[in-house]
């Protein structure tokens, strides 16, 4: 992200603002999407990216390619096959047992080798922990531009990638170009773009490259891995119902009121940024610009004032319900239902009322 001074600069002061693509970059063609795998599972952000990648490729009249980097064998083959179902014209693949776990060194090597060999014009990755770790390293290696966490991608009249992203914590949007360097790289957060329709397609062309490393070349070792399914970690991004708390709860003690309501609803719980900064809640529960983007069917925000950073993370929710003591709180500007109430007082009675309403017993009574 460019700094404030650049945003304030007048267009004429930007020497690089005109497209003067050097000859060596003119051979860069096609749109690539990095297919993110972790332990044999493709992250759904990859399919979301295939949707937008297809749109860009069609506009540029070039091919859309999926990039599969991972362990040799079934999982990577399956990822490649699946990529065709989500619209890939071809797949570039580096499959090697050294790529079983994500490690920066080996993945940079695989991806930069592919880029330098086959020269994509646009390279998209998910803004996940893996995607951001890899994208930052690869862009620096290739000395090209990288725009993080885009919310919109398009191609302008002269064929340049226009990457739009929130800036200043989400209070403004800016559109960023990488005019004179290739590839044009961007990351997109999970859940921001819709997953395209999957269609069964015949297997297409897969182009493979060898990794060219042995284990001793890779210094970093994965000693162990604790999957989240074995821990109490959140599944916020994919939850149907989310209950979250903010500073209006007054103390970390009171945050349990949020957790109780979430329990009764079978929901995930989350929080706004200040609670993480205060150490009341762990960062994996943070919703908003610097935390998770959520798209639940029901979102209940208790004692959250609704700073723009928070709004960015919850805008995709189907029904936003806000509880806040301040009638003028910004959250009421973007929630669907609101109640001016002290969350500390309302949450316990709301929890009990939901429990009564949703229990099988009460359902039988309604049915009877």
């Amino acid at each position: 992200m460019n700094t404030a001074s650049e945003i304030g600069a007048s267009p004429s002061s930007r020497a690089a603002a005109k497209k003067q693509l050097s000859d060596r970059f003119k051979t860069y063609k096609h749109v690539w999407v990095f297919i993110e795998q972790e332990r044999g599972q493709v992250h759904s952000v990859s399919w979301e990216l295939m949707g937008v990648g297809r749109k860009l490729a069609d506009k540029l009249k070039v091919d859309l390619a999926a990039v599969v980097i991972g362990q040799e064998g079934e999982a990577s083959q399956a990822a490649a096959t699946e990529s065709f179902c989500y619209g890939a014209d071809l797949v570039y693949m580096v499959a090697d047992d050294l790529l079983k776990d994500y490690r920066n060194e080996s993945y940079i090597k695989a991806l930069t080798k592919l880029v330098n060999s086959y020269k994509p014009e646009i390279l998209l990755l998910g803004a996940t922990t893996l995607g951001r770790d890899l994208a930052g390293s690869v862009a620096t290696t290739l000395r090209t531009g990288l725009t993080a966490d885009c919310t919109e991608l398009d191609v302008d009249a002269d064929g340049s990638l226009a990457a739009t992203r929130p800036t200043f914590g989400g209070s403004l949007l800016c559109t960023i170009y990488t005019l004179n360097y290739r590839p044009q790289m961007a990351t997109v957060r999970p859940r921001v773009m819709p997953v395209p329709e999957r269609c069964a397609r015949p297997i297409g062309r897969i182009i493979t490259l060898p990794l060219g490393l042995v284990e001793d070349d890779i210094v970093t070792k994965v000693l162990s891995f604790l999957p989240d399914r074995d821990s109490a970690r959140s599944n916020l991004a994919y939850a149907d119902v989310v209950v979250a708390g903010g500073l209006g709860l007054g103390s970390s003690e009171n945050f349990r009121l949020v957790r109780r309501l979430a329990d009764v609803l079978g929901a995930e719980f989350g929080c706004s940024r200040p609670l993480v900064q205060k150490g009341w809640v762990t960062s994996d529960r943070q919703i908003g610009q610097t935390g998770k983007t959520i798209r639940p069917k029901l979102y209940i925000a208790a004692g959250i004032s609704g700073a723009i950073q928070h709004r960015v993370g919850v805008d995709g929710a189907d029904l936003i319900v806000a509880i806040n003591t301040e009638r003028n709180a910004p959250i009421f500007e973007f929630s669907h239902l609101g109640i001016v109430e002290d969350a500390i007082r309302l949450l316990p009675i709301l929890t009990e009322a939901f429990r009564a309403r949703l229990s099988p017993h009460s359902r039988d009574r309604i049915a009877g």
Partner: protein, 280 residues
């Protein structure tokens, strides 16, 4: 042991307002803070120093006023502060920023010894890119450990470090070799308050201020706006949603009123919620 922490002075984004007419950022009176994730990084470095000895250098690139953040870092207990400030750095995107910071780190290495670990926060709260840490690592050839929640072991003899790194699906326990770059996801412990002695020392401390030339920049075209491959073409306010919330007026049974309103809006939710609730 030499630990180096890169910090950034950022506007307290919770307090930024957009001008309703011109859609420009109103920065006047917005306080600046040290990027919160960088404080986690500083805390991690200070804890290692407390445990293993050595010193902690803090480095920032920014306008002369960024000195405030460095002084703050000194009050927390950092030993040395370097401010990289020059109009040539203005307008840098992440690639140009990593060039400048990597150059300064080389100069710091030659004067005070090469850092064993370079720390940054996982990202800043104004740019949010999470790109500067990986960029510095790449430029300096350091092993890179991002989204670190905990440093679980450090063996100075074997020159190895073990960390817990957050990934999408779980936590990786990684071992790599020093020197490395670590970006911190959170603080393992509560962030310390500065001791009185440190506050007094910080108030008197000299902060090293380097221009591009003093830092050892050999190619000015890689700095600032000129060295930035990305170009900001347009800045605009997000489209406002014009509907406001339907307000439930609290009565004697606010909870029931709210639940009824929710199910009136989305009738299907009642059955789905009942199913979800039974699952727990």
């Amino acid at each position: 042991m030499h630990l180096l922490v890169c910090i950034k002075q950022v506007p307290d984004s919770g307090q930024i307002r957009v001008h309703p007419v011109t859609n420009t950022i109103m920065r006047q009176g917005v306080p600046t803070i040290i990027n919160p994730y960088d404080l986690f990084a500083l805390e991690a470095a200070l804890e290692l120093r407390d445990q293993f000895g050595g010193e902690v250098t803090v480095l920032t690139m920014g306008p002369p006023s960024a000195e405030d953040s460095l002084r703050k870092a000194l009050t927390f207990g950092a030993d040395r502060a370097v401010l990289l400030t020059d109009r040539f750095f203005a307008g840098a995107d992440t690639l140009a920023t990593t060039y400048a910071l990597a150059t300064a780190i080389r100069r710091i290495s030659s004067e005070f010894g090469a850092p064993d670990i370079v720390f940054t926060g996982k990202q800043t709260i104004d740019g949010d890119t999470a790109q500067v840490g990986p960029g510095i690592a790449k430029r300096l050839g350091l092993f890179q450990l991002t989204y670190v929640g905990k440093i679980s072991a450090l063996d100075l003899h074997a020159r190895t470090i073990d960390v817990e790194r957050r990934s999408e699906g779980g936590v990786q326990l990684l071992r790599t070799r020093l020197p490395c770059l670590v970006t911190m996801l959170e603080a393992t412990n509560q962030i310390r308050r500065g001791a009185m002695a440190d506050a007094l020392r910080a108030a008197r401390a000299t902060i090293l201020k380097w221009s591009a030339q003093q830092a050892g920049v050999d190619d000015i075209s890689q700095c600032g706006l000129r060295g930035s491959p990305t170009v900001v073409k347009r800045v605009f306010a997000p489209a406002a949603r014009n509907e406001k919330a339907t307000m439930i007026e609290p009565d004697e049974q606010p909870a029931e009123a709210l639940i009824n309103a929710i199910f009136r809006c989305r009738p299907a939710l009642e059955i789905e919620l009942a199913a979800l609730a039974r699952g727990y």
